[in-house]
Symmetry: C2
DNA sequence: CAATTAATTGACAGCGTTGTCATTATTGGG
DNA sequence: CCCAATAATGACAACGCTGTCAATTAATTG
């Protein structure tokens, strides 16, 4: 099990080590036949370029980082898997770096945390997920350090960088249509925090679908939660006690939808018979409760994988033009909306 | 923002680069005063050793990997945070590598997947979480490659490597005592898969607690689930339809406990008034349902952090003796067992 | 206090790759 | 068929650090 180096391949292929290097770095000006010889020899001897040596010589680290500050481990895990898939294929390492939410517990701003990190670790690129992807100070730091970055689902200025995203508004529209198709015409919506970009888009989509279907929006109350399960629970209890009568509730994320479910079950309602419920995210919890939750599955894995691919492209080609990619969501119709 | 190299520090501290190197590698035989001079200069100039150069010269990668095959993203996330904390402090990168479960979808065994990975990426150490930590073939591969590894919560042969774990049996005992203290004397237990080490230990602890309290174990049925929420739901429904009457159900993990909750709520039972429920894991879902789930919180973060520390010790000191560390669990008494 | 021994430090050659620039094929035009 | 222009390849010096081993300094002993 001794080490195979570039010299071995060069000798086997009858070329110089520089040519082998060219092949492995996808550099131009290598004849097809030469490339094939090199690749054959490499495959034959199971050669893998040494990451450390490459890094030292080229001043790269072959590490890309996902900066995040999101308590939803589901989401993080799915993002990570997507990044990982792309990185693994390209010979990069994918690392996750959790940021602290600035506040009483943490005196460092996102930007300062990033600065500290960059001093300590050499990295080739960064992927930013919400809410970091909308922090202008943090982004300035990356710009100053000249580190390529790609954003996941940014709420603002999509054109200012490469990014991948889904059309939240269209997705919420689709879900609402589904509920309407099930015969519901009095549907409540529980939104997330007002300042959350996606939350606003989801509500807009909901309202648009009602209008498009010619429903009376007056009969469809909009409640305000904060994305926590607890808030979904409370809003649902309030609603059940109030005079409004609805046959379906659409929550802007899965956690709140589960809160709604718990309150409905506690009140003795049959789901979906007496109350249909829909969430948004496609997270793990939707599959743990019973009946399983009807929801919108965001292609988190795909978003992350494409983001990583875009990032690698930017790393390989500095100055590359920005790209924005929209991926389709999937409507998961499950037990909380159909028998 | 030009690069600070070891030469700059050596010059500033008035020593040779080798001495600076010694300081940064915690090598012995450096006088305190010399070390201080070097550290002062390094701090002053914000020097960080170049990972690639270190790796190339010392044949290390400063990357440790968490090999896992566990669908619970909660658990993974907590493990990762623990490893990450330790790694970051030590200047290592922490990377997660998901394995495929061998089966119809994946023809490669764990051992083969590991072999492939090791050919491709140079890594300094591995952390194995269940179920990989009990796969002897996989472990043989690591041994052959001479890669240090530490196991998280192994079910077998704890002495064969360094590892960190919790006393599942004692924890289940504690939870059972809690339920008994709440006045329950007819308690059902839902176990996990028979071949799962932790599951067996939890059941043993449950039974021991009953016996210790002088309860009639005949009145306490043991049901068999598979750790899925669905199985908890089904077992609970079966139980409710049967002639057995229990006032509490203790499930061997949180997912099953949530399944139990859903079935109980569907049946119109008040929780915890008519049925108390307890889980095991302390995972995120327990906090999303309502009422929040009484459970055992494993110190996953701590287990992982200590495991990483042990791993780094083994990396730095080849041939170091194995250590087994037991960490205490925490009983989280929440709404499903107390009003 | 000289002679040993142990502790501390330094000089220098790699580590395996890529960047730079020189060199050699190959191609197309007149 | 020759020459310029271009494509393809190679030689060799970094890259920033650690391993080895020799050199120096400090501590200990009789």
């Amino acid at each position: 099990m001794k080490k195979v180096t570039i010299d071995d391949i060069a000798e086997a292929a009858g070329v110089s080590i520089k040519t082998v290097s060219r092949v492995f770095n996808h550099e131009p000006n290598v004849r097809e036949i030469t490339r094939d010889k090199v690749l054959a020899a490499a495959k034959d001897m199971r050669y893998r370029p040494n990451v450390a040596a490459r890094g030292l010589a080229s001043n790269k680290s072959f590490v890309i980082i996902h900066f995040h500050d999101n308590p939803n481990s589901d989401y993080l895990e799915r993002v990570h898997q997507g990044i990982h898939k792309c990185c693994r294929a390209a010979g990069y390492f994918a690392v996750m770096e959790p940021f602290q939410t600035p506040g009483p517990d943490c005196t460092l701003s996102y930007a300062e945390q990033a600065k500290d990190y960059l001093v300590e670790f050499p990295i080739d690129g960064v992927i930013l997920s919400p809410p970091l992807c909308d922090n202008v100070d943090l982004i300035s730091v990356l710009r100053e350090h000249n580190i390529p970055y790609v954003r996941l689902s940014p709420a603002h200025n999509p054109a200012s960088s490469s990014c991948t995203y889904v059309d939240d508004q269209a997705a919420a529209h689709m879900m609402t249509e589904h509920l309407i198709a099930q015969g519901h015409c009095k549907i409540a919506f529980i939104s997330g925090p007002e300042n959350h970009g996606s939350s606003v888009a989801r509500r807009t989509g909901f309202l648009a679908a009602l209008t498009d279907a010619g429903l009376n929006t007056e009969a469809c109350p909009i409640l305000h939660g904060d994305f926590s399960s607890r808030s979904g629970f409370k809003e649902c209890e309030t609603l059940l006690k109030s005079s409004s009568y609805v046959t379906a509730i659409f929550a802007a994320n899965d956690d709140m939808a589960v809160g709604v479910m718990m309150a409905a079950l506690k009140a003795g309602l049959d789901i979906p018979g007496e109350l249909a419920i829909a969430g948004y995210d496609g997270s793990r919890v939707g599959n743990i409760v019973w009946p399983p939750l009807t929801t919108i599955r965001q292609p988190v894995h795909g978003l992350a994988e494409r983001a990583a691919e875009l990032l690698l492209a930017h790393i390989r080609t500095p100055g590359l033009e920005f790209t924005q990619e929209k991926l389709p969501v999937q409507l998961l119709v499950r037990g909380t909306s159909t028998p």
